[in-house]
């Protein structure tokens, strides 16, 4: 598809006379696309920061002794890694960047329902991020990202309050995003765009927003209570007053377990888009994927107790939580099976986004299946707080969310910037990330199973081989993350012009110019077909037309 004459100015273009005016045009923008770019920059900054903390942790773990860091500094390093990655990268990552950019385009709207709230959410994110950063600068925090009481409220000597303030403010940023997504999806859809014609990314973002709206306030108030306990010296989780620290864990995990679905559900949405586009087929079982997102959102609220199997909750609740945890596997498996079925007889092209998508499926299956192990009380008691758990959630969070995030960024990069990135480097870095990831985290399954506890900076001699392997893998992984940063940045100047629809994909976002005009649609489109309406013979036709070197 050739680039047609731009009907109106692209959202990136400006005619601001001065640099200051240009900066203001970005910082006071209410355009969802520009806000997405602001988020992209901020979130990637925090991702690199969290990655830096992870590198420090991995370097320390090369030797069994604590050479680089004291145990206290080590605690601060992994806490920084956890807090930055969870609160400032994984939770806002896909919704705030891709969701903000794409949802209005996908539903055929000119903007989010509440554009100024959207900008406000970015500022809240930045304020929250500054709190967390200042906590790190003033000496860090050593509670782990979970802030368990009474350690966080009474005993810790680190900057708990600042960090909590950061997470609290960030929570309201994600609430603002969630409210915007929900209202936009409900009220801003283009004529004819019924719920079952929506792209699956919108469905999964909607499910995510539902979780955000229902769960985030609870962690907000919980963290506030911890802060009060720390400041005031008396608190409602204090056993001395008759309080119960386990109540903190209940309230905390009421949010933080659904929060892992906040992290992974948008990833599912991205993968659905990628798999369908690069197989040139309508997604298999659209309704099942859509409803499985909603099912995950709902069941996700009922399983938080599996984080508390060994923390003193009742064994009966443990049993119930264990059973319900198994249920989450059903909608997750539905998705994986449907993606696999979509690939069947598709015309698969191994472009960079697709490499990430295929990587996602493999890694997510491993992460998900080990999640089932951990949902079984007996196995969980054996491997609680070991590297098995660490490996499990990194397979889901890194292997899942980050793969989807990078896949999505690559897929929509031409739409966001109007330029193609370097496909060769794209493929290479996707493979490096896949290899580096497995090298980093697979050994951790073995380590954990053998009994290596998490959050320790020293370990017995016999674990060294696996730890060194893991640290070496993390170096590879880091290289894999840095390469895209370079070629994506370069593509802004050097990249080929992408055209409106470089992937020949369906969806309203591909009908507008690249980069999209400031107001998205000159005429609000009318939708008459379902999503992913690739003609039935598209896959076969593509396969027949394929020549070595042809783009798809």
């Amino acid at each position: 598809m050739a680039t047609t004459a731009l009907p109106s100015r692209g959202y990136l273009e400006d005619d601001t006379p001065t640099v200051w005016a240009w900066i203001k045009s970005w910082l006071f923008t209410v355009d969802h696309k520009r806000i997405a770019i602001l988020y992209l920059l901020a979130i990637n900054f925090y991702f690199l920061l969290g990655g830096l903390a992870a590198s420090v942790v991995r370097i320390e773990l090369i030797t069994p002794q604590g050479d680089l860091l004291s145990s206290d500094l080590y605690n601060r390093a992994f806490t920084l890694h956890g807090i930055i990655m969870v609160f400032f990268f994984l939770i806002p990552g896909i919704p705030a960047v891709l969701g903000n950019f794409l949802i209005p385009l996908m539903v055929g709207a000119r903007d989010m329902a509440f554009p100024r709230l959207n900008l406000f959410s970015w500022y809240l994110y930045m304020i929250g991020g500054l709190f967390a950063l200042s906590a790190a600068v003033f000496g860090g925090v050593d509670t782990g990202w979970t802030f368990y009481t009474p350690f966080s409220s009474t005993y810790s000597n680190s900057n708990v309050i600042l960090t909590i303030a950061g997470a609290f403010v960030m929570g309201f940023s994600s609430i603002a995003t969630g409210v915007n997504f929900i209202v936009t999806t409900h009220t801003m859809r283009a004529p004819g765009l019924t719920w079952f014609r929506l792209p699956l990314f919108v469905w999964s973002s909607y499910a995510t927003s539902l979780i955000i709206v229902l769960a985030t306030p609870v962690v907000g108030i919980t963290l506030l209570l911890v802060a009060i306990e720390r400041i005031w010296g008396v608190g409602i989780f204090d056993p001395a007053l008759g309080g119960d620290p386990l109540l903190f864990q209940h309230l905390f995990w009421f949010y933080s377990h659904p929060a892992v679905y906040i992290m992974i559900l948008p990833g599912f949405g991205v993968i659905s888009e990628l798999i369908s586009t690069f197989s040139r087929k309508r997604i298999f079982g659209y309704e099942f994927i859509a409803f499985s997102s909603m099912a995950i959102a709902i069941i996700g609220f009922l399983v938080w107790g599996h984080h508390m199997f060994v923390s003193g909750q009742s064994v009966y609740s443990g049993l119930v939580f264990s059973f319900i945890t198994m249920l989450v596997a059903i909608p997750s498996a539905i998705k994986v099976f449907n993606w696999t079925a979509t690939l069947y007889k598709g015309s698969i092209s191994y472009r960079t986004p697709m490499l990430y998508a295929l990587g996602f499926i493999g890694l997510f299956v491993i992460g998900g299946l080990t999640g089932i192990f951990l949902g079984v009380v007996a196995i969980d008691i054996h491997v609680t707080d070991t590297y098995f758990v660490v490996a499990h959630f990194h397979y889901v969070m890194v292997g899942g969310t980050i793969m989807a995030y990078l896949g999505g960024i690559h897929f929509w990069w031409p739409k966001m910037t109007g330029r193609m990135y370097n496909e060769v480097w794209g493929g290479i870095s996707a493979l490096i990330i896949f290899v580096g990831f497995n090298m980093t985290f697979f050994p951790q399954f073995v380590l954990g199973y053998m009994g290596m506890p998490r959050r320790y900076h020293v370990y017995p001699q016999e674990f060294q081989v696996l730890h060194v392997l893991s640290s070496a893998g993390s170096t590879v992984l880091a290289i894999g993350f840095i390469i895209p940063l370079i070629y994506l940045t370069l593509s802004l100047w050097k990249g080929k012009l992408a055209g409106d629809n470089p992937w020949d994909a369906t969806g309203l976002e591909w009908t507008v110019s690249s980069p999209p005009p400031a107001h998205n649609f000159d005429e609000i489109p009318v939708v008459t077909t379902e999503a992913y309406a690739y003609p039935p013979e598209a896959a076969e036709r593509d396969a027949a037309a394929w020549r070595p070197g042809s783009p798809l």
Partner: protein, 126 residues
Amino acid sequence: MAEHSNTMPGTDGHAAASDHHSHGHIGRDTYYRVFAALMVLMVLTVGAWWIEGFMEIPRVLGVLIAMAIASSKTVLIIYYFMHIKISNRVTQLYAAAAFIGLAILFIIVMGDYFARGWPPSSGPLP
């Protein structure tokens, strides 16, 4: 994009915004009546508390009465003052969602405390 060129005028209007659910309008009389009901309930809840001061009734019952009255007040406020009666289905659903979310939180957490035996001093763990 083949699918978008084929416009069918008036397929279903603006997908969400077009379904008008304005079942009508709540008059001032209703507001006054609801307010009167709220005041009666308010007197009832204080009265019940006052009477419980003399009568020996199970404590649970007292809490239940108070919560039932508070819930009725809430329902009245939400239904009439907050216009849920004449709102569209989605808004009604979200109004209910908060209470479903709270119910999940309360049932599961209290279930755990119930099964655990709470407060802990009341006996060994099961």
